[in-house]
Symmetry: D2
Subunit: 338 residues, 4 copies
């Protein structure tokens, strides 16, 4: 069976996902498109999905009998509305980050999905599908004893002037917030932020770098350096220290050369290159579950927990140096852990 | 357009390719199957390709109007016959190694394809699609100056008793023979084989390890260690030395741990794990070209050149220590290099 | 000129230093020995320094006209007394860690040396002489821009029952406390300690691991993991993040093998193996300066600053999670930086 | 006891060794110097060894009652004469490479030392004292099973116009020739040289690179790439393949940085930096044995075997591609292997 996919929001990521569905992955076909900028959707139809219908708006697209499942790739502020509509229609829905722009909004989605009774929503936390993290999780689960500490870094060469201190949480750390919950099978109980002196390359509205310390329910301490003006490259580091040993996220594959008196491997500079392969795996997983009328991968609950934790991290930035407690309701049975 | 694929030979690799076409890749669908053991083809239909027809023989499958393109995955001795039939039918054809069991047979395929006038055949040299080799080629082509030497190793943990000294060429070195022609954009002019003392783990009919030295038309010297009882793992090494520097094939991605007083990365032990991802890329390339009624990737000429070189290497084994000249006709225009 | 050396305290480290002076290094000779256990000193005379005189006590040894310079290797509580006596005698003095068991005691030594007017004391912080740290400092000073963060780890496979939580500072972190001041050419202004859940292998009187966060006057944040029951090996890690890039302390030299499906390098398990070479360099530096009647390397002031910082770190352990300010008087001109 | 050392030849290496003896190592003192250029010896006396006597010639120096042991660091053509004189005088003698400029000359030294009856000569093959090779030998002897193959490279960034094809053997490969005999505890039975096309940076009298294949008595095959215009750095590589696994010579210690989108370690460019530490260990070993009136380390026999093998390698260059047999008399009992 081919899953008929409607894409809401055909900007960079929506267009790229449409290409994936139609040209790379197995089992899906783009049958519907919509965008606030209709010309954008028309262009995707012309270039990638000639058989698709362009809809005036996301709600009509969701309602269409030619759409089995939905990709929500529109502006963040519209995610909640479309995901709720997809749940109401009983259709599987892949939603790019964030699930909603507030914890309350994410909670409304959780409540709606719980009321529906089966999973319909997958949130676009693609790191869980990255080959390196998947291999790391296997080692963490089986070879190094129970985790006690995680040392991580999220480094970006540069950011635009519009990027502010809280965005280091909402746009950047958000990936670590989700992936470490998954990696450790654990939840957060507190957050603390430490600010070294800011680097010379940052600007007035951004304190950079910063170190976020998250403590989990099991007592694991995770310190993550966020440094978005690190200059030298896009670099994601993660070391897990367990009772018996240490495991480390691998560097991306690259060719080692000996040139100009230097043994060298290139470092990526664009985040898109780092996780591009995981988008394929992520969406293939969505297609597979959607063919069964359900969803797998990161849940609405994960999206909600990411929102709750992000809010606490921003509060911790403001409370510079003080720990902020992280609280959340009980996990619904629908999202019971494996 | 979905390319309708017929698979001849549904043993391990044929079955796996059928799964790829139907469950992983985009743009193809298995519509026909055949195998000397009909039950094998029936099983693939049942498990993977319910819409496929099982044919009594490969010739009927090739002739079927429901088949746009063919995968030849049968016993090596039958490859030539099926590939020639596919060419006669004007249908794109992916042929697993070897293209034919003799250089003469491979030459007949080359001649038939040249007579046909456009490319129809892709040979299953999957290493050209391996992420590591692809990245290495890019660096060799652009960063280290013209290549002068290649140091390589092809190590296998163990081989069965049936594996003999010439098989180290035909079944093992065959991959290096092809991939180095592609990597260096060059052809071979001589082969020499040096035998160290054989290892304790080998058996009477296999001298192991051996070192094959190939010299190219441009004067590059390639030494490849073949060691199929190396015991410790499946390990493919390749270092290219150029005018300006050195580049090295990367190790497969793995997780580094610190455990038991050892900093360690696992080494693969099964060759299938090493190149599994490249099979996907290889067949996707085939599907893409087949949709246009042609073929890309490794050519019949490449298959023929591999056969010619293999024969010279086996002669060099017998002439222990002496160099054997490698000769071949001019390259047909159909196979002109990029 | 050969510097005539008297060794006070001939236990493990004193005996080893005597061997260095007489058998490895250039320019020194052991002429005097003393130990509370006279038999220990006699044994060193018999085995290593046949020309040495055994003294009844350290004070007599210091006063001897046959002694040009002193090594203080006795029990920590006696260091202050002997170092003060050496200063009073105007003789160069190498003192093993700690310079004194209290910050006040260390300050008395600083004051005595300042009153003397020239340097006479070198404190045994051998990491400053480690080839890896020396190379790291060169890179930190010249290649990665001004430092902003340091991520470090000090891991030990196991500790005895007698090792308590504060000893993780006084006996373990003390090395990082000194070496980071030197590496960064900076001083500390606050300390904070975070405790993850303790590991299963620790005992009642030791919370292990712990993470100590030191902030420097220049705003650099240093987080050091101390994990003395890490089980897998003795492992010293240090990564410095600067404005332009990152530099990392090298792993100790070891042989990489491919064995048993594992690419592996041994990890040390005994701290003595890690820094053994730096003891030679350290004492050679002492001999060279002592021949000129003075001292170089880590100063009394460095010893005092280490004591002040250690006290703050222990207070930070007790104030779990709260930052403790670190204060100290102005640096005397005698100890002016580079 | 302090060994009184006379140095014959006070050029770069002789001067450096004099510095080592007087300023770094334990147990020796420079008491005599000579050089064909007397001013050179006077300068070393002035700068490094004020207590030394400058002799008119090496023979007088050897005869002096103030000289216990001799360092022969003069021009290669004079080595044989001075070493024979030292043996005649019954004094331990350290001789820089080559022991003699012909195999016959080296054999005369062997015969003289055998006639003397105890060891007096150490040849300056410093690689045997390199920390990396020492660690490699330990692993080769104990962990990877019996060696079967060695893959090695000796790369130099550039050489002067005066450096010719045979010098790649006599001045460059000579180190591998010795160190692999020691590493494998084996002797050579044949040599073959393969020439790839020469690199663009070489000159008329030098074919570069070249690959020398040595076969040992035990059947181990060693291929060594010599590439003295490799441009990118001074790089010594060595991989030993044994019955059970593979071991590799470590890279020299260096600091890994992340800078400018590159993960990088510096590569040395000057051979002196690569083995500087091993000179200290080598000469300390000489001093220790000389204090006992004998010699240890590389023997006259090793120097002779290096000469015999070098001659065969040069013959193999001339016989391009053909194997040249290597023959030598039985090993005298004085040089029996450990």
């Amino acid at each position: 069976m081919t899953v008929r996919i409607g894409v809401i929001g055909t900007g960079a990521i929506g267009r790229d996902h449409a290409r994936r569905i139609n040209q790379v992955l197995s089992g899906g076909s783009i049958t519907a498109l919509s965008d606030v900028n209709r010309a954008s959707a028309e262009a995707v139809r012309a270039d990638i999905a000639p058989d698709a219908t362009v809809f005036d708006n996301g709600q009509d697209l969701i309602a269409s009998p030619d759409v089995d499942a939905i990709l929500v790739c529109s502006w963040g502020a519209t995610h909640e509305e479309y995901v709720l509509a997809a749940i109401a229609a009983g259709k599987p829905c892949f939603c790019e980050k964030p699930l909603a722009t507030t914890a309350e909004g994410a909670k409304r989605i959780v409540d709606a999905e719980v009321a529906h009774g089966t999973r319909l929503v997958q949130v676009g936390f693609m790191r869980r599908y990255d080959e390196g993290y998947v291999a790391l999780k296997k080692v963490v689960d089986g070879q190094i004893g129970a985790p006690i500490m995680v040392h991580a870094a999220h480094r970006n060469p540069t950011v635009p002037e519009a990027y502010t201190t809280p965005m280091a949480i909402h746009d950047t750390l958000i990936h670590e917030i989700d992936v470490f919950r998954w990696l450790l099978d654990d939840d957060y109980v507190s957050a603390r932020v430490t600010f070294p002196r800011s680097c010379a390359r940052t600007h007035a509205k951004l304190r950079d770098p910063q170190i976020v310390t998250l403590v989990t329910a099991k007592g694991t301490v995770i310190d993550t350096e966020i440094f978005v003006n690190c200059h030298y490259g896009y670099d994601i580091q993660c070391e897990v220290v367990g009772e018996d040993g240490v495991a480390r996220l691998p560097e991306p594959m690259s060719i080692q050369t000996r040139l100009n008196a230097t043994l060298q491997n290139p470092i990526l500079t664009d985040w898109k290159d780092r996780f591009v392969a995981s988008y394929d795996v992520e969406l293939q997983d969505f297609l597979k579950a959607a063919a069964q009328g359900t969803a797998s991968g990161p849940t609405s609950w994960d999206g909600y927990m990411a929102a709750v934790t992000s809010d606490a991290c921003v509060a911790a930035q403001e409370a510079e140096g003080d720990a902020i407690a992280i609280t959340y309701p009980d996990r619904p049975a629908l999202y019971a852990q494996g």
